[in-house]
């Protein structure tokens, strides 16, 4: 078997604040993405889902200390020289940001802006050819009237069109991996569905690996091949999409699934009580234990390792697959 497109092993991020307090934002994450595969990363704010991606692209602020390994096509990204990583950013790895309005330079026409991204990595191309290429990309992401649209500014686009343009920019240099950080959060539900369909289609057409970061399980349910659920800077459950939903092992995942509204649902939405722990003051045991409904004394003392529990891997002393299957009906 060939090596995965992206492989993170024991990735850790530590911040030190002005008072010298140390905080671990990421505590040993193992993940991999293959070409043509969609990996969903799900978690609350502060669970470390975005920061993990920013870490290996070296986009973190200076105070962050990153350890562990992240290999892209077998090449180590952690500690890579800034000149070398610049050749990978935007070229082999494209990024889609959450808010497509603030992620575009407001004073540049979209065509020029995306052409700029192409020319950065291909000096031999002329500006005119680059603009033609942008037109082709706009067609690819189904923006109507591309020839007219490339001459417009970001504020002249609607939210959905802007996100399409963002995807076009991420795809501009034919990347092998695309990281989408909450790509649909700023959009309303119907547009959200269109964008998800588009991403799914593009993945099949272009055979790219796609990492989809979101706080909404519903977003990744339809598109992801595998899902990793993060909590408190760790992966708490990881596995193929279907088992993760139907044979849920970790109580946190079960809680997230319970909090998704259903179409026929007449009952009240269940919520997970409490708030995530502060990263400066993590509980000694499992970080989810204080909020967990099935926590035992041991959960507050030792942090469980990620291990195979049924069809998925989970980090729980008492995985639901072996104790109570009631949530996973």
């Amino acid at each position: 078997m060939t090596a995965p497109l992206l492989e993170m092993t024991d990735l850790r991020i530590e911040f030190t604040d002005a008072d010298g307090n140390r905080a671990e934002a990421l505590r040993g994450v193992d993940l991999s993405v293959d070409s043509g595969e969609v990996l969903g990363i799900v978690g609350e704010s502060g669970s470390g889902k975005s920061i993990a991606m920013m870490a290996f692209l070296q986009l973190l602020p200076r105070g962050a200390r990153v350890t562990g390994s992240a290999k892209f096509r077998g090449e180590e990204l952690i500690g890579m020289s800034s000149a070398r990583i610049r050749k990978i950013r935007g070229k082999a790895i494209g990024c889609i940001f959450q808010d497509p309005l603030s992620a575009f330079n407001p004073v540049l026409r979209l065509g020029d802006q995306i052409a700029e991204a192409i020319l950065l990595h291909d000096r031999s191309m002329s500006r005119r050819t680059a603009l033609k290429e942008v037109e082709r990309l706009f067609e690819l992401v189904a923006i109507p009237q591309p020839a007219k649209r490339i001459r417009q500014y970001p504020h002249e686009f609607s939210g959905g069109m802007r996100q399409r343009a963002m995807i076009a920019m991420a795809l501009a240099n034919r990347p092998e991996l695309v990281i989408a950080d909450e790509p649909t959060t700023a959009l309303d539900v119907t547009v959200q569905a269109q964008i998800l369909d588009l991403l799914g289609d593009l993945r099949k057409e272009l055979g790219i690996g796609l990492v989809m970061i979101t706080h909404d399980l519903g977003v990744v349910a339809g598109i992801a091949d595998r899902i990793a659920v993060m909590y408190g800077g760790r992966i708490v459950e990881r596995g193929p999409t279907d088992p993760l939903f139907y044979n849920t092992a970790h109580p946190y995942t079960a809680g997230l699934i319970g909090a998704v509204p259903t179409l026929d649902g007449t009952g009240a939405l269940r919520q997970i009580e409490g708030t995530p722990p502060s990263i400066f003051n993590r509980p000694p045991g499992c970080s989810f234990a204080p909020r967990c409904t099935v926590a035992q004394p041991v959960c507050h003392q030792t942090d469980p390792a990620l291990r195979v529990t049924g069809a998925t891997d989970s980090a729980c002393h008492f995985p639901l697959t072996t104790v109570t299957p009631e949530v996973a009906e």
């Binding site: 986009l59 990024c95 940001f97 603030s102 992620a103």
Partner: protein, 290 residues
């Protein structure tokens, strides 16, 4: 809502005015007056040689004549026409103000942008240099530098640039600090853009508003400071018709008020006009001050 029965000619969009014309139209009245006065002065600078005016450097009448039809603002102690000298003075004062402001903006913005964007040692060194410079009262520092370099308008200009650049360095630094945290800058970095390119393409174009407003306002202040330096003999040397040195000549002859009146009014109108225009521009562009 467009009425379908309307003739096509009326529905067709009118030619939209360019951004400068649109900005001018939205300016408050005072700012429009300011812009008009400045425009008049600029026209004067360019065309004054062609006007049927008395030679500003030659004796053209009797000494110390009060205003009359022949000499609209009278004559000075050497029998030169004050009106002609005032208008010719613009050829000195206004280009110098433009050059000084342009240099101060260029140097200050460049250093401020480096300071704000790269931070660290660059920031420390440049900002301490700024602190040291602004610690002196502007006119004192300008006098000291001009006195050190010797009199003359070129040296006075250098002195004024030294006094003025730190303001622009601070303005630009503050603006860069804010803009570089925006998401499109992160997006550009994630797209593989090297730092200098990020600064040039994605940060700087969004940083010019406060600098532009301030430069407009400072224009008048530079005219004033240039005149002040000439007034105390550190700027223009006689017999150049410079406003400051003309006022200085008039200051000793208080009863021949017209000698200082011409250049005085010239300075007044330029400073007021730039203040009006700067205020108006700030009302338009700087949302925070409202």
């Amino acid at each position: 809502m467009t009425d379908a029965s309307q003739p096509a000619a009326q529905i067709a969009p009118r030619r939209t005015p360019g951004p400068i014309a649109r900005t001018m139209r939205r300016l408050p009245l005072t700012a429009k007056i300011g812009a008009a006065i400045l425009l008049m002065w600029l026209i004067t600078v360019v065309t004054v040689q062609l006007w049927p005016l008395a030679d500003p450097l030659q004796m053209v009448g009797r000494r110390l004549q009060p205003p009359s039809m022949d000499h609209w603002l009278g004559t000075d102690a050497l029998g030169r026409d004050v009106f002609s000298r005032t208008l010719h003075g613009a050829v000195w004062s206004i280009p110098i103000a433009i050059v000084v402001v342009a240099c101060a903006v260029a140097i200050g913005s460049f250093l401020g942008a480096i300071s704000g964007f790269f931070g660290g040692w660059w920031d420390t060194i440049i900002m301490r240099l700024v602190d040291v410079t602004v610690a002196f009262p502007p006119i004192l520092l300008a006098m000291a530098v001009a006195a050190m370099l010797g009199p003359g308008l070129a040296n006075a200009s250098i002195a004024m640039v030294i006094v003025w650049w730190p303001i622009y360095a601070r303005l630009m630094r503050a603006q860069v600090l804010e803009v570089r945290e925006r998401e499109h800058v992160e997006a550009a970095v994630a797209g593989g853009a090297p730092p200098l390119r990020v600064l040039r393409v994605h940060v700087l174009p969004l940083c010019w508003t406060p600098t532009l407003i301030n430069a407009t306002m400072d224009f008048g202040q530079v005219v004033l400071l240039a005149a002040s330096l000439s007034f105390i003999g550190l700027g223009a040397t006689p017999p150049s018709p410079e406003w400051g040195s003309m006022i200085s000549e008039g200051a000793t002859r208080f009863y021949n008020w017209w000698i200082a009146f011409g250049p005085g009014m010239a300075i007044l109108t330029v400073v007021l006009a730039t203040s009006f225009l700067g205020d108006g521009l700030r009302d338009l562009f700087d949302r925070r001050s409202q």
